[in-house]
């Protein structure tokens, strides 16, 4: 996939001027950065919660909206996203296909849908483009009956995520009189580690949560060959990172952990960007490392409206300013909610260690430890495209 990126530069030239002022960069960096920025906004108000979001899901949702937007509404979207979906449809489509490809051993389930109020006449090109680029389904619902509308949306999500995500919406989010559109992006991820953690090595260990209290939580343990490294923020705060690959070699989890337990996560988060994370790649070296990682499940539902507004995407939420003429010309639409629910499970499950790693892991010198026993950041990255499927902070597993 990486080899397609140079073509992007050519494509960029044909884009409207808003895009030209940006340095040409690999596509998914552009796409994912908005997700990371949204994350930074979310954690500002919830520094001590567990947060899981999908940067790629956010980029997809905004991309879908961009296809239907016009005027300033579109300009705001394209400016923040740093690309124009219209010009990059083919590449985005390829990326989306690669992410849910069978090669990943089916560990990513992504479902995008737009629910529009009955009677809104939708433009055919908009539906077709969304289906093509984002595999997004556009459906009609009667929002006059919020409970029923809510039930059908929830049923759809549950079905699309194989029962893993339910109760996405509550009826009070739908205003029978005003709601015209609900955009839903649901993701489920359960990774199989490339090198599994042996269940007999899982033990309760102490995790010092963000509240300063110690908790005994089950932690996975594995001595294996991992890529890891450490670096510091411009302010001189050091943190360590490690890459834990998933089965199939296309997706891996990256974990970032402040080196000093006195450094709060909030101190390194502003420094995290796609650029930073890409720079880790060049700093990582393969080492035999003793990894200790909490076993956890985290699920977060986030309303992305306020974080997006804080980033300058405001018009689409404003009934008087939103321009979605490319979705429908029969009435003036605005976005009432963008909701995302993301879930991640981290357990021992994985494939057995490959021959190469096992053969060199018999020596009995003491390996360096990578102990995740305090709040940490994680990123689940689809390496061929660079897309961040998930990222999050875990303050208490």
């Amino acid at each position: 996939m990486n080899w397609h990126f140079p073509f992007l530069l050519v494509a960029t030239v044909t884009l409207p001027s808003v895009c030209l002022q940006f340095n040409p960069q690999p596509l998914e960096e552009l796409g994912s950065d908005i997700g990371i920025q949204v994350f930074n906004q979310i954690v500002k108000s919830r520094p001590r919660d567990n947060i899981v979001i999908s940067p790629h899901g956010i980029a997809s949702a905004l991309g879908m909206l961009q296809l239907g937007a016009g005027g300033r509404t579109k300009l705001q979207l394209a400016t923040m996203m740093k690309y124009n979906v219209n010009g990059l449809g083919k590449i985005l489509k390829k990326i989306n296909k690669a992410i849910v490809s069978k090669k990943n051993k089916d560990i990513v389930t992504m479902a995008n849908a737009m629910f529009l109020n009955n009677g809104s006449k939708v433009e055919v090109p908009f539906v077709a483009r969304n289906k093509d680029v984002f595999q997004c389904k556009v459906r009609n619902l009667n929002f006059e009956y919020p409970a029923a509308a809510c039930d059908s949306i929830n049923a759809w999500v549950k079905n699309e995520t194989r029962g893993m995500i339910d109760n996405l919406l509550s009826p009070d989010l739908i205003n029978g009189m005003l709601t015209r559109m609900v955009l839903v992006n649901a993701l489920y991820f359960k990774g199989l580690w490339k090198s599994r953690f042996r269940p007999e090595n899982t033990k309760k260990r102490t995790f010092v949560a963000a509240d300063g209290k110690s908790y005994q939580v089950p932690m996975l343990a594995q001595l294996s060959l991992f890529q890891s490294g450490s670096t510091s923020t411009p302010g001189g705060l050091w943190y360590n990172f490690i890459e834990l690959p998933y089965h199939g070699d296309s997706i891996s989890m990256l974990i970032a952990l402040p080196s000093e337990s006195s450094t709060p996560l909030a101190a390194i988060i502003p420094h995290i960007s796609t650029k930073t994370i890409d720079s880790w790649k060049s700093m990582m070296v393969p080492k035999r490392v003793q990894v200790i990682l909490p076993k956890f499940t985290a699920v977060t539902q986030t309303d992305l409206k306020e974080p997006l507004k804080a980033l300058g995407i405001t018009d689409m939420f404003d009934a008087t300013k939103a321009n979605f003429a490319k979705i429908t010309r029969s009435e003036n639409l605005h976005v009432s909610h963008i909701l995302q629910k993301a879930k991640i499970e981290v357990s021992e499950d994985g494939t057995k260690a490959s021959a190469v790693t096992a053969a060199i892991l018999i020596a009995r010198s003491s390996p360096p430890w990578f102990i995740v026993d305090r709040p940490f950041l994680f990123f689940i990255r689809h390496n061929p495209t660079g897309a961040f499927l998930f990222m999050g902070q875990i303050n208490k597993p």
Binding site: N201, A221, I360, L361, I362, A363, R364, S365, S366
Partner: protein, 344 residues
Amino acid sequence: MAQRAGLGPRRLEAVAILLLLGAFRSGLGAEGAEAEALCGVASQARVTGGSSAVPGQWPWQVSIVYDGTHVCGGSLVSKKWVLSAAHCFPREHHKDMYEVRLGAHQLDSFVPKAEARSVAQVLVHISYQQEGSQGDIALLQLSNPVTFSRYIRPICLPAANASFPNGLQCTVTGWGHVAPSVSLQAPRPLQQLEVPLISRETCNCLYNIDAKPSEPHSIQQDMVCAGYVKGGKDACQGDSGGPLSCPVGGLWYLAGIVSWGDACGAPNRPGVYTLTSSYASWIHYHVAELEPRVVPQTQESQPDIHLCRSHLALSSAPARGLLGPILLLPLALTLGLLHAWRGL
């Protein structure tokens, strides 16, 4: 083992003379001269089973620290030299970041008798390539010599022809993990474990039980095993380089150096040690003042292959009996199918 049969009367004579010399020297040490050149003597009686040692019980045990972290064990063999494992010194590590701690008991508490030395020289055996390969041995020269004391004393190096009998109860010591992925708890007192020696042949046989073809492990000529067929007690990560101390004729000899093992304490996977005696000439070549000592033959070595055979007889044979017909059945079916297909 086999070497014993090859010993002629002349060699035996030589052995006797050397032993006399040894006795003379130890006599000198006892009289005063600060236990000069005396090796393999510990002041405490030993305790069996996996447990915390007593301070001074294993005075040759050293901790090798890299960048402030204990990475391996080692054995003091003279005032200036420590023997450890090659894999404790990966190429990307810098010599200057190593430190040797001697006379330590609890790694997390300060002992006035403990000493620390930086490393002047690391000699890694040229044949060492990767984990599990031959030549997992290294000599460390301390920046400054140490003064022997009750807590800091060398262990005896066995001569090239030394042979320790199978089943000999030796002791492995170290500050390594107490179970896979479980580090030793603070204050990290030195741990000791009695382990019987297992011959190379038997060990190879054991490592072939339930072996994964993708993970071949073979016990090379320069290795020896020690531990338990049923597992449970073993050295582990962090013990590497440390001593496998064997008692013969009242002295302790460095029979092995902790090297590798499949996990730690797994059944049929005893710990594998570098056989120090096979490097006696290498040691002497690099450090002329280090003279390996002839180990007296006090006990005849008995074959120990039954340790592996008993497994084969007990569990493998009935399993095979069951597997036979099951395997044959699908084979027959396949043949039948092939036949039919050909007939068409």
